[in-house]
Amino acid sequence: MSADLAIVTTGLSKRYGRVLAVDNLDLQVLRGEIFGFVGPNGAGKSTTMRMLLGLVRPTTGSIQMLGMTLQAHLEAVLARTGSLIESPTFYPYLSGRDNLRVVADLVGVPASRIAPLLDLVDLSGVERRKYKTYSLGMKQRLGVAAALLGDPDLLLLDEPANGLDPAGIVEMRDLLRRLKAEGKTVFISSHVLHEIEQVCDRIAILQKGRIVVQGSVQQLLSGGSRVDVRVASPERAVELIRALPFVTGVEREGDRLVVLAPVDRAAAVNQALAEAGLFASEIRPHEESLEQYFLDVTGEGR
């Protein structure tokens, strides 16, 4: 395993009876990056995260985390891993502070670390209230505090923005970026694709237990094979561009054309338009939203 990799799964599968929840998953998460793990409901995200935490045993395959084989060094790996899996789970009869004391005892850190973390997640004023009286957003913030309590090198966060108000979401985004700046690796599973797009360096899209695509957000969204063209006479331009030998198709979206052609041929498209007396007001590599990209690759939007 390369020293640059925080998580590597090889041929990871999990079968529950007849259901193959995770199918031959090869995942690579680099150290120090924010990695997004996205997929429709039932795609196998939670099962994968549970396998990464040793809660669920893989049927086949192996997991390497922080340079160690998970199965052989589970305790050592988890000592350096903070996690928030699905909805935060705490003891309802304990206060927020006492729940963090429980976690502090488990991870072996002094209780003095609790107060700064409560400040960080903005729960200082309500720390003595019972957990069961917390709102969803407060529970979520307590979950993040618990994940950070052991000052982990690797964070596994499932839907960290769930239940947060807009200001909380912005704070969460800033927190994740700050953690990255501190050199920590953050692995996020989320349905909020806009957030994933904003904070993640790389993503993997999971569908029916398999990785459909894995790569840098920038690279995936630019596509590398589409060019956006905005031109005054789109009808004429469509005919002209379609005739170009390197163009495999043209889609019209209002006054904008999405040209299926290598991005490095954008200049040639521009030249062909200019020679025909059509001047593009805009020509640039096509950029999709992660949402659109997700729908395209998973077929969920059809």
Binding site: L55, L78, I85, S87, F90, P92, Y93, D98
Partner: protein
């Protein structure tokens, strides 16, 4: 130690635990005062005999009280999903179970110590009203310590029973229900099997209840009146009871550990 510290913190903060202990003390207090007012039985609750009487009564309450704590403890970990909180940080599942059982047994021991204190107070007050006339055996202190340990041992069986049920069914209600229900079912079955005779009688003689009842009875027999105890000359010996309860506890612990060890945590 981290696991145990976390478990003990949770145990200290849990109202359910305090209520169970309060119920135990309330019942013991009421029974001792009631016996104290019965002239035929009053000598059983005078200090220091009252300590033994209180511990014998506590043993008979084991099947109703300790399953509440143990079943709740095990089942709620799955019901609340807090087992993830623990295992995602301390993944040794055997340690997790043992830490929980130690915490619960420490609570049982604290409850029984409170029973000893309460029975001492009540016994001293009753002595002041009617001074004790029975000679106090020289080994009564040792018998009291042994009975205290026997109560803890009996408690361990019901703790393990409810903890196993709560874990297997991943439900606090199942843990409590199975723990308490098993005690009731045993009493009924013992009656039926004994009446049927033959092989069934032999089976009844080896049900956990036979050993659980015999242990405190045998230990306190010389010091409490026969009307107070369930006097049964055919009941197992102290050593047979220790071994019998030990075997049942070992089986319950093994089943619990096997289930926890193999299970995928999907709660």
């Amino acid at each position: 130690m981290g696991l145990l510290a976390a478990d003990l913190l949770r145990m200290r903060k849990r109202w359910m635990v305090r209520i169970v202990l309060l119920i135990l003390l309330l019942i013991i207090g009421l029974v001792l005062v009631g016996i104290g007012h019965n002239s035929a039985e009053a000598s059983n609750v005078d200090y220091p005999f009252g300590i033994l009487a209180a511990l014998v009564i506590s043993a008979s309450l084991s099947s109703f009280l300790w399953p509440v704590i143990a079943g709740n403890w095990a089942g709620n970990e799955y019901g609340w999903g807090t087992i993830r909180l623990t295992l995602a940080r301390k993944p040794n599942r055997i340690e997790m179970v043992l830490s929980a059982l130690i915490s619960i047994m420490l609570t049982v021991a604290v409850g029984l110590l409170l029973v000893v204190v309460l029975s001492t107070v009540i016994g001293v007050i009753l002595n002041a009203i009617t001074p004790v006339t029975r000679p106090i055996p020289s080994d009564l202190g040792i018998v009291a310590v042994k009975t205290f340990l026997a109560d803890c041992y009996n408690g361990l069986f019901f703790v393990l029973l409810a903890y196993a049920a709560g874990t297997i069914f991943q439900s606090a209600a199942a843990g409590i229900g199975f723990g308490i229900g098993f005690g009731v079912a045993q009493t009924v079955l013992t009656g039926i099997f004994t009446a049927l005779g033959g092989i069934w009688h032999t089976v009844a003689d080896h049900l956990p209840e036979a050993y659980l009842t015999a242990l405190p009875d045998r230990l306190t027999a010389p010091d409490l009146s026969t009307t107070f105890r369930a006097a049964n000359p055919s009941e197992p010996s102290i050593m047979a009871s220790i071994v019998g309860i030990g075997i049942y506890c070992a089986v319950l612990l093994a089943v619990t550990l096997a289930v926890v060890w193999r299970r995928d945590v999907t709660a």
